[in-house]
Subunit: 341 residues, 4 copies
Amino acid sequence: MAEAITVSIVGASGYSGAELLKILNRHRQVTVKKLFANTSAGKRIDEVFPSFRTLSGMMLESYSSDAACTSDVVFLALPSGEAMNIVPELLTRGKKVIDLGGDFRLKDISLYETFYKHQHHAKETVQQAVFGLPEWNREQIRSASLVANPGCYPTSAILPLAPLLKEGLIEAQGISISSLSGVSGAGRSSTTELTFVEVNESVKAYKVGTHQHAPEMRSILESITGMKIGLTFVPHLIPITRGIYTTIYAQLRKKVGQADVLAAYQKHYSGEPFVRVSDSMVPEIKHVNYTNFIDIGFRVYPDNNQLIMLSTIDNLVKGAAGQAVQNMNLMFGFEETEGLL
Amino acid sequence: MAEAITVSIVGASGYSGAELLKILNRHRQVTVKKLFANTSAGKRIDEVFPSFRTLSGMMLESYSSDAACTSDVVFLALPSGEAMNIVPELLTRGKKVIDLGGDFRLKDISLYETFYKHQHHAKETVQQAVFGLPEWNREQIRSASLVANPGCYPTSAILPLAPLLKEGLIEAQGISISSLSGVSGAGRSSTTELTFVEVNESVKAYKVGTHQHAPEMRSILESITGMKIGLTFVPHLIPITRGIYTTIYAQLRKKVGQADVLAAYQKHYSGEPFVRVSDSMVPEIKHVNYTNFIDIGFRVYPDNNQLIMLSTIDNLVKGAAGQAVQNMNLMFGFEETEGLL
Amino acid sequence: MAEAITVSIVGASGYSGAELLKILNRHRQVTVKKLFANTSAGKRIDEVFPSFRTLSGMMLESYSSDAACTSDVVFLALPSGEAMNIVPELLTRGKKVIDLGGDFRLKDISLYETFYKHQHHAKETVQQAVFGLPEWNREQIRSASLVANPGCYPTSAILPLAPLLKEGLIEAQGISISSLSGVSGAGRSSTTELTFVEVNESVKAYKVGTHQHAPEMRSILESITGMKIGLTFVPHLIPITRGIYTTIYAQLRKKVGQADVLAAYQKHYSGEPFVRVSDSMVPEIKHVNYTNFIDIGFRVYPDNNQLIMLSTIDNLVKGAAGQAVQNMNLMFGFEETEGLL
Amino acid sequence: MAEAITVSIVGASGYSGAELLKILNRHRQVTVKKLFANTSAGKRIDEVFPSFRTLSGMMLESYSSDAACTSDVVFLALPSGEAMNIVPELLTRGKKVIDLGGDFRLKDISLYETFYKHQHHAKETVQQAVFGLPEWNREQIRSASLVANPGCYPTSAILPLAPLLKEGLIEAQGISISSLSGVSGAGRSSTTELTFVEVNESVKAYKVGTHQHAPEMRSILESITGMKIGLTFVPHLIPITRGIYTTIYAQLRKKVGQADVLAAYQKHYSGEPFVRVSDSMVPEIKHVNYTNFIDIGFRVYPDNNQLIMLSTIDNLVKGAAGQAVQNMNLMFGFEETEGLL
């Protein structure tokens, strides 16, 4: 078994940061060394999240690279635009970095600047980042210094689509993706739009056709399949705390049956510890919440010549902190499932 | 102003029946004469729904056509397969009938029998039924004896699609429809699947590609537009009590901008009292709940050559009882909005 | 029937203000003349609450007394401390005023200043205010110029307690009150504590023993009964949008049965249009939500020599806007239930 | 470290049974040997709870004592009245038994028969059962053959009350207890009352003054303190899946300050691994959900001479399966927190 390591979390006062801490506290080869936060610096983590009382009383500190560099690996769970200012120095000082934000996911900087609406200040570093989707990049992740952990929506859409595109079962154009997300996906912020009264007993689509995860889905699928992809993505906010439900419609390329689709999934995912595919069971969010699993279901619909794909993940686990720990496990030679079952 | 009338409700112990009673109690030209129920017969309505205490203490009776025929119009809010046994006699005895169920919506009996999974016993009566979507059938409804009130999902999908198909802005094939429904849409039944614990903090798709509202959408759109329609429909159950959110993806037929779509909607819906279209505002369920409105939004997405349509209704009002009263208002010459604002 | 009137709402961009507008739009003797707001001034009401689209497109204006005085009655739905700066001038200019806030409910100014934590600037005006609880102050309300509309929690606690204290069935000391409130009771503000993620799937007590509604309950009960009252009040925030559930424990003064308690309630509330008492039915929030009713239930519990009282209201209706309209109806000689059934 | 053991779960298709399996799967000294169910016998556990897919594919079997006796300890998670038919034989055959139901909690059989509304068939066995509240019975539990795991409500009420009664800070009579429970506490059954639509956006008290957990609280507090206890208990169903919030009012016996109460709690609970007391922090359900902790807060309220106590637990963990595993750890000499942090 690989040696024990120390880790730091930058952005520990957000939901993804707290989920990371919860998972890492249970990980048998990890010691959490430093927690960094911004406005909450100076408080203990259990003052911000009282669920940690008696489990962790660590202080939240203002970020400094010296402090961060006392650990072997640094997790970043920050709003977009912040990681790019921190990561180059950490890499220079020889640290491994796992970034849960969007700063290092898009190789095409102009795409980043269009969708994230600010300039990129670490363009060269972007090119060395490995996209942290273990099911498709496992070997690269093992040797990566910088992992760009996938977005929650892209995780839920890329995993069901990639095998079927690769096997030529569906068209690469005209893909329609409808995702439903729990509110923790919006982060721990306090706008009127996210209050209980505004969200409860309602649904709304948002960033219709303009969400920054659409180019991430497209560019990663293109790099996996080598095809030119055309997709439309509509995210919806629904009144649950955690979980993503993604429903995808694609045109069938040829006469395809349920068994063909299942075979394609089995070919690519049969050994995957966190991918559960079924040709009969319809995914439900409650089956994956608080876990690192993605559940995938599907239905061939010959009347309209379409395939329907359905997937569910916990946005804070497989969609963020859990997948980040899965990546860390690969980077340090730990059991891939350690801390995650 | 038209003369006052009397009404009866068959199936008053369900959610749609109760919503009908609530609306009709506020209607200035209506007196509710009889309430019929099955297992709850012999109870007062306020024993079944205590919200009616001091507002209505009417008895729930076992159905008899003689009793029903003491009123001018009979509303049916029954599980599928039951209305077909009641309606022919009511029509023969000269009553107007508004059926909130699915028995008289599909002119193609074989389609009915495939999707509803039982035989039809009133095939001739089906042919005289008018589909009660006022925005497209207003004149026929005025003179109808039997109105087949639209399903909740079809209401939410046909209204955004029909004008754009008619105006040739979108392709008639390859339409993808994703709907989210509150749990009251499943009726007042007690299966483990509908308990709070199973539904809360989760989402599930159901009847994927096999829901009986898909042929209803298709056949009504075909009769409105004269085109052959190809659509895929996936309904999802989400943890809210009331409301439907429908997201539709269609291929654009030609170079179309936001203004073209808005113009098509305005052409067809500008005088409609219950249709609210906006090219900028994204629909949210909370804006329409407890009302008879449908809100429609849309976004041209040229990258993938698609149009995204979004709509919201309250499944118990515009999706059931409210639209039924709107139809009654038309049939009896009342103000179309009476009882509904 | 009394003559039609015009009304203004100050604070129309909050939840109580919007609920007022919704009710008043259906009221047959009322025309809404002016809507005032603070940060939302300059917007249309349907931009703030899109549910009003096509129903009201009135502008939100910055408050001015001249504009307010163009209407017959002014409703105030403001944070505490603001109404006191507006009301004296309105009264001087001959307007009727109904204040939904706390500024004029407590005759004892020092109590106000202790619990509301700021100074009072209209101490004389406080003395002329009538506490707007129609069930106990109906005659005074009819002739009042200034009505202090009761708090939501006090409405839910005073109504079940007052008859039993007056009839000597329970002790005036040692009363314990536990209330659960929907989140709309906290107003339309954007603190992290009120976001969906923080509220959902949780419960918290707050202002334990320090809530400003405790002295309101005590002082009003003392003025109704003439007794010295001792009570403990614990409010809890629960994950629902609307509604209050209040559970009260009091010591029985003597051997009392269910029938005695019911008789006391009937003596005081038998003609009340919005009070529904039952000795067998347990109140549930869903039976009163979106209505102006209060439902009251109770249980004599001889083992511990206690009486349990249970009550439910909709905090935005009987707990705020509905009761305010009930008061307006009394002040202007309209049918007391107009707009409220 | 103690030797590894094997366990069986009788009633594995309910929520408590499934929670037990989830916890035991993570326990390092336990192997789950057999799962028993009634109507679900013959299915795999992951067919009933798909969250177990790839984690457990164990079969659910019809109960037989021979099969149960292949394991070292048997957990029972059954409706009341069923465990009593199974337990005596298991004990005779030398097995350790932990019963999560109510059959062995009340030493007074007549109290059991009154509140549970059926006869008891294993009256002698009741007398050898140890009430499984580790904080008060740790030594007895270590050597017990049969542990009666506490009810969820009693756990949440006894733990805050016992130290203060023992230390003479509060009166033993006139205690008022108001508890709010998530719906999983009602078990996995399918009555109309527990459907999402009926529970959502509402609250109801139930079994007011007649709940079977009231005599459990009273008799256990009497056995702990040696005093005669008088308490009133009102449980409420609220729209959350998991968690209990308990608010307790008691009369202060003498002049008592916050520090005295804190000292009493510290005296009894300072070394407890799962009890977290604070004199400043108000408990919230979200801080304890999915954990075995109980959080306790309190407030001295001199105006009404009362003490307010507040507590929160997860009803399925500290209120059921977690506490059961804590008891198992004591019975077999494992680390008390194993599997529970």
